[in-house]
Every structure is written in C-alpha cells, then in structure tokens.
C-alpha cells in the first residue's frame, strides 16, 4: 500500500514541476494592450471541409490581418438549442468583446444573451433577428448556386439531379430554387429531386441522402450540407457532383464540377475592424457575387469550354446588375405563376421562401 502512495506523490510532483515550468514565460505579454477578444460558435468542426471550414478560414484571415491586436477562439460541435445559450453566455461573461454564431438555430439563443450583455457585440449568420448590439450577416449564395445549376443542367445525361438538403427553411429552399432555375435555363428537361436530412452536419446522414438520390437515378449530386460526404458518395458511384461551401474539388477530385463557395474573410475583417474602431452599428449584411463574399469555384477540367462560357455570361449579367436570379417569370412546381414576367422578387420574399420553383420534385412542408 505504501508503494502506491509514493508513486502518487511522484506523479503529483512531476505534474507540479511541469506546470510551473510552463508558467514562467508569458510575463512580458502583460505590458501590451489587451487584444480585442472575438469568439466563434460553430455547428460542426473546422475539419468538415465545408461550412465550418470556411468560417474558420475567415477567422484565420482576421488573425492574419490584425495580428496580436485580436485574440480569436472558437468552439465546435455546439448543438442548436438550449446548450447554445449557455455557450454564448459563457463567452460574453468571460469578457469577449464580440461573438459570432454561425448557424441558423443559434438565432434565438443569441437574442436571449444579447439582451443580457448590452456592451458585447453579437453577430448571427443566416438569421433575421437583430438588436441594438446584434447584427446578422449572410451572402447571396443563390447567385453562384444559379451558376452551378447551369453547369449541372448541361452535364446531366439522365436529366435527374439529386439535391441533399438540410432543413426546409427559406435559406435552403432559396438555394434549391436558384440551382433549379440555373439548370433549367439551359436544359428544361431537368428534374431536381430533394432529400431532407434534417441536419446540417452529419456525415453519415448526408452520405445516405446522396446514395438514395443516386439510387433514384440522379447522375449529379448537389447539396446544402456541411461536409463533403455527398460528393464522395457520388464519386464512389462514378457520378458527378456540385459541391458547396468550400471548393470541394480540392478535397474530392475532378468529379466535383464546381462549387458555390463562401469567402468570409473580407467580411469578418471588415466588421471586426469596425468594432475595434468603434464605428460598428447594427446591420443586416446580405451581399453577393459583386462584394466577393460568395463566388463560384474554379471549374473541373471535365466541364467543356462552351459551358464555361454560358456561366461567364450569366455571371456578368449579375455583376452588371442588369439581371438577377429571381426575376420573373417564375412558376412554382404546381405550375402556378409566382413571379410575373418583368417583376422581380424582393429581399423580403426571398428571405421567406416557402415554395419550390418548377422542376423541383419534393415538398417544402
């Protein structure tokens, strides 16, 4: 028994020494000004290679830009719901100056905490609720989605395109509609079939959704999820795909024809810079291709030049501001005219999308 205790003391002493050895260095840091403390709350891990990966790239861009004037931290795998409230509150309480939450389901938790900490700045990605100290930000990803639809519409042979989608909320519905409009602008025979996974981040479910769509005859898989799994599933079956979030071709290969991608760095640098300078105000940021917060990734060598030209032409119209994705005429998938020729959808209408355009097989509700 005695030996056991000796061992314990030795271990304890070892741990103490190791701990003290580390602590002696950072005395010099105290002299400098406190860095601006920024926290990010993520739904998945940065290693998802998709949604959270791109936000984390943005966070890194902030660190690169401001150096030791900012300190950024993040927490991954935070479930949407009551636990998110606790996480966001803990950051606020620990003295973080600015908190970003990057999933739709963090909206109500963030509103709740924002009320309690009026001095902390809150930014919520993809929601619609704001406060004096809480802003929203998002990008018009539907623009590059439309462009990616052109590619898919031209490249499909079975005229069935599968779409693995997270939740039937306006954000996702808008993306499906933009993609379908793009595909049908070059190939009116295209059908887009939707499978809901009811999760943003779940590699297994995302893959299963893609497999079900391939079984249903789809020869191209598009997606609104957080990981590259649907793309991998398509590749394994020898089928093509359209990525999302990040340039998924880099992770999966040339079967990923292109991807609508996020580029958060410039936005994060801008809004954090403003917050540091004291010029930050409540805003609802929703920019598109022109601002560069979204873009279409470089295309796979499998995409022929004439398709690339078609995409370029459509992109130019959007950049010029002469035309945009949700300009009429647009019919819903029961055949009813929803947007008349010559009319265009307002931001408000786009933000509350609850119907599918013609060519989408599936139901929103």
């Amino acid at each position: 028994m005695k030996n056991r205790w000796n061992l314990l003391w030795i271990l304890l002493a070892a741990a103490l020494i190791a701990g003290c050895a580390k602590k002696s260095e950072p005395a010099a840091v105290a002299a400098k000004a406190e860095p601006y403390k920024v926290a990010f709350v993520y739904i998945g891990p940065p290693g998802d290679l998709g949604w959270t990966h791109e936000h984390d790239q943005g966070r890194k861009a902030v660190e690169a830009e401001f150096g030791d004037k900012v300190k950024t931290v993040y927490i991954e795998n935070v479930p949407e719901g009551p636990d998110a409230t606790r996480i966001i509150r803990q950051y606020a309480q620990e003295g973080y100056d600015m908190i970003f939450a990057t999933s739709f389901g963090y909206m109500d938790p963030m509103v709740e905490v924002a009320k309690e900490f009026p001095k902390v700045k809150f930014e919520h990605c993809s929601g619609y609720k704001t406060a004096e100290n809480m802003s929203t930000y998002f990008g018009r990803i539907y623009q590059p989605r439309y462009l990616s639809g052109i590619v898919a519409g031209k490249m499909t042979k079975s005229n069935i395109i599968g779409y693995a989608a997270a939740f039937p909320i306006p954000e996702v519905v808008r993306g499906i509609n933009a993609f379908t409009l793009g595909a049908r602008s070059v190939n009116p025979k295209v059908q887009v079939r939707v499978v809901w996974t009811n999760t943003w981040y779940d590699p297994v479910k995302e893959r299963e959704a893609a497999v079900a769509l391939l079984d249903a005859g789809a020869d191209i898989i598009a997606q609104h999820q957080d990981t590259v799994e649907p793309q991998k599933a398509a590749k394994e079956r020898g089928k093509l795909s359209i990525g999302y979030d990040s340039d998924m071709r880099a992770f999966v290969g040339d079967t990923v024809l292109t991807s609508p991608v996020w580029n958060w760095g410039s936005y994060y640098k801008d809004t954090i810079g403003k917050a540091m300078a004291g010029t930050w105000t409540t805003h609802q940021y929703w920019e598109g291709l022109k601002a560069g917060v979204v873009r279409l990734a470089d295309m796979s060598p499998l995409v022929p030049q004439d398709v690339k030209d078609l995409v370029k032409a459509a992109e130019q119209k959007i950049l010029d501001g002469t035309w945009d994705v949700f300009y009429g005429p647009i019919k819903d998938n029961t055949g009813a005219v929803k947007v008349a020729a010559g009319a265009k959808m307002t931001d408000g209408e786009m933000l509350s999308f609850d119907w599918f355009v013609e060519g989408v097989v599936g139901k929103v509700k």
Binding site: A15, E76, G81, I169
Partner: protein, 364 residues
C-alpha cells in the same frame, strides 16, 4: 501468492470519503499528463474549468441548469436500481414527459386559466414519464420480460416520436420551417430563480429529501429495501413484489419525467432539438456515484454538471479540440468508479491456495 477481492462487510465512513477524494486526485494527475501531451498547461486548464463551472454567480447558475435534470433523473434511476430494476430508460421517460408537457402547454394553454396551466403541464408531464416507465415494469412483472432491453428501446421510440412531432405536425407555423414547436405561452414557463436555473431545483432538492425519508423512515421504504436485497425474503414476509416494483418504477418514471418538464418549461420553453443531451444516461453514472443514496445524488449531480460545463470551457477558452473535453470527463470518471471497488472490496493477499496454485501452474 494470489490476490483475492473480498466484499467488505462494513464499509468505514473514512474510506467512503477518502477513497473518492484520492481517486479524484489520481484522475486530475492522469488528465494533467494527457493535457501536457497536448501541449496545454494543466493548471491553467483546471483553473478555466473551475471558473467556468463555479467562477461566478452566473457561471454557477449554468452549472445548476445542467444539474437539475441530472438530479431528477439521478433520483429516478437510483430508486429503480435499489430494486435491481435496471431502468436505463430515463432518457425516454424524460423525452416523453417533455412531449406531453409541450402538448398541454401549446394546446391547452389557449383555453385554460393561466394559474392552472403550469401545474397541469407539470402533472401531465410526470404522468407521461410514469406511464412510459410503467410499460417495462408491467412487462417485467407480468411477463418476465427483461427490463434493460425494453427501457433502452423505448428511449428510441420516445425520441423519434418527439422528432416526428416537432419536424411534422407540431412545427411552428411561424418558424420559417425550422424544426421546433411554437414557443410556450408565458403561463407555462417554469419560474426561474437565478440566471436560467429554475424552480425545478427546489423540486429536485425537496424530492431528494422526500425520497430519502420514504426509503429510510417509512414502512414502504422498508419493504422496498427488503425487496431490493432479496425478492424471496420479501415474498416470505408477505410483501407483494410485483405491486411494489410497479409502484416504485412509476415513481421513478415520474421523477425522470419531471426532469423533462423542467427542460421544456424552464429552459427552452418550446420543444426542439437538444431537449435531452444524454441526461438520462449520465443519470446512471450519477446514481452509481451517489451509491444510490438520494441525499448524495444532488451533490454528485452538481459535480457531473460542473464537469460538463467546465469541459466545454477547455475548448472555449483553451482552444483544445472538442473531443478533449469528453476525454477529460472519461479520465475523471474512471478512477472514481475504480475507487469504489476499493471501498466495497478488500484486497487480500493469500498464500497460494492448493487448487488455485495448481491451476496457475498448469497455465504456465
């Protein structure tokens, strides 16, 4: 020479306190080594964890928020385990009670006088939890169906049912399609005491005392004790084994149900994803660590809650990967459970038993 584990006849009070304390120190050291391997400062990490869980009034209320469901499910599980009824269905009982409470809150809230709403919500929720636990209890006592499997499977049924409701017919029509029911009317909110810690805390502490009293100071408690020790002996005493098991498990289910009611009425105030974050399973650890003693359960629940809340801190403030927090929880629990082996058993070194010796030699 060989080593024997011998069950201790009486466990000394000192051992009961000292062994868990020593196990805790061991686990801190083990975890510290792990942290060093990751290049993190163990002391700073522990400080961050402690601060996250107890560092301020506000932080502590968040620990309590997690402790409340753990206390209630821990009590429910402890009661069942005392009867050797392996109820691992706390998760399902919690969830189904949450569903029932939600149904009352959003549908009856429209016509029910507001002062009656919350009591009704609580009552119906507890009844639902009890009913859900009653199924395996009846199956066990009537048909001798193993309760472990039934309680576990019913968890999935309850969870999938709740998902069906908030993804489907109960989905908030004003929620832009995002899964989750509409928010509860204010009359169905469990009052909050401090921060997000709600009245469920008072219920939990009161019920811990009440359960202790019932188990130790009443005739029914005595009957349950005999029954737990030996069903045969109970039968000889003329105690109805079946009836008592069913009754006790109904109470167990109601306790777990109250945890679910607290979550939907006190925290999320709607039914949505993340109703139970594995509380019903953590409750098993809570019950065991509390040695099935209702008075110990609240303390252990706070400790577990602190580990969960503090574990997140490791990630949030120290920048360690999410899996590190979970790893640390495991590292802390293992020595604690191993430690209980030493309180309950005596290690004996014996001269080689002739038979055992022969067997050992044969193996060599």
């Amino acid at each position: 020479m060989s080593i024997l584990f011998e069950k201790r006849k009486n466990i000394s009070r000192t051992a009961q306190v000292l062994v868990p304390a020593a196990s805790f120190v061991v686990s801190l050291i083990l975890t510290g080594i792990l942290l060093l391997a990751f290049g993190a400062d163990p002391f700073a990490t522990y400080r961050a964890m402690f601060r996250g869980a107890f560092g301020s009034g506000r932080a502590f209320t968040e620990t309590l928020v997690k402790a409340i469901p753990l206390m209630l499910t821990g009590l429910g599980v402890a009661l069942a385990f005392r009867l050797r009824f392996w109820n691992i269905g706390a998760e399902g009982q919690l969830t189904l009670a949450g569903v029932a409470a939600t149904g009352v809150a959003i549908f009856w809230g429209r016509w029910m006088p507001s002062f009656l709403l919350l009591p009704t919500v609580i009552l119906v929720g507890c009844l639902a939890g009890a009913a859900w636990a009653g199924i395996p209890a009846l199956l066990r006592t009537r048909l001798k169906v193993d309760e472990t499997l039934v309680t576990l499977m019913l968890n999935y049924v309850a969870i999938l049912f709740s998902e069906y409701l908030y993804y489907g017919p109960w989905r908030d029509p004003k929620g832009y399609g995002f899964p989750g029911t509409e928010p509860f009317p204010e009359a169905a909110w469990m009052p909050r005491i401090a921060g997000r810690a709600h009245l469920g805390l008072v219920f939990a502490l009161f019920l811990a005392l009440a359960l202790w009293f019932v188990l130790n100071r009443t005739r029914w408690g005595f009957e349950l004790k005999i029954l737990g020790a030996s069903p045969q002996a109970a039968r000889y005493q003329g105690i109805s084994v079946e009836r008592n098991i069913v009754l006790a498990i109904l109470v167990s289910g109601a306790l777990c149900g109250l945890a679910g009611v607290g979550e939907v009425t006190g925290i999320s105030r709607r039914l949505q994803q993340g109703l139970s974050l594995g509380y019903g399973y953590t409750a098993i650890i809570v019950a065991w660590m509390g040695q099935l003693n209702p008075l110990a359960v609240p303390f252990v629940a706070v400790l577990m809650a602190a580990l969960l809340v503090g574990g997140d801190q490791v990630q949030m403030m120290m920048g360690l990967p999410a899996s590190m927090g979970i790893l640390m929880q495991g590292m802390i629990l293992f020595p604690l459970l191993a430690g209980s082996l030493f309180t309950e058993y005596r290690i004996k070194r014996t001269a080689r038993h002739p038979a055992a010796g022969a067997a050992a030699e044969g193996a060599e």
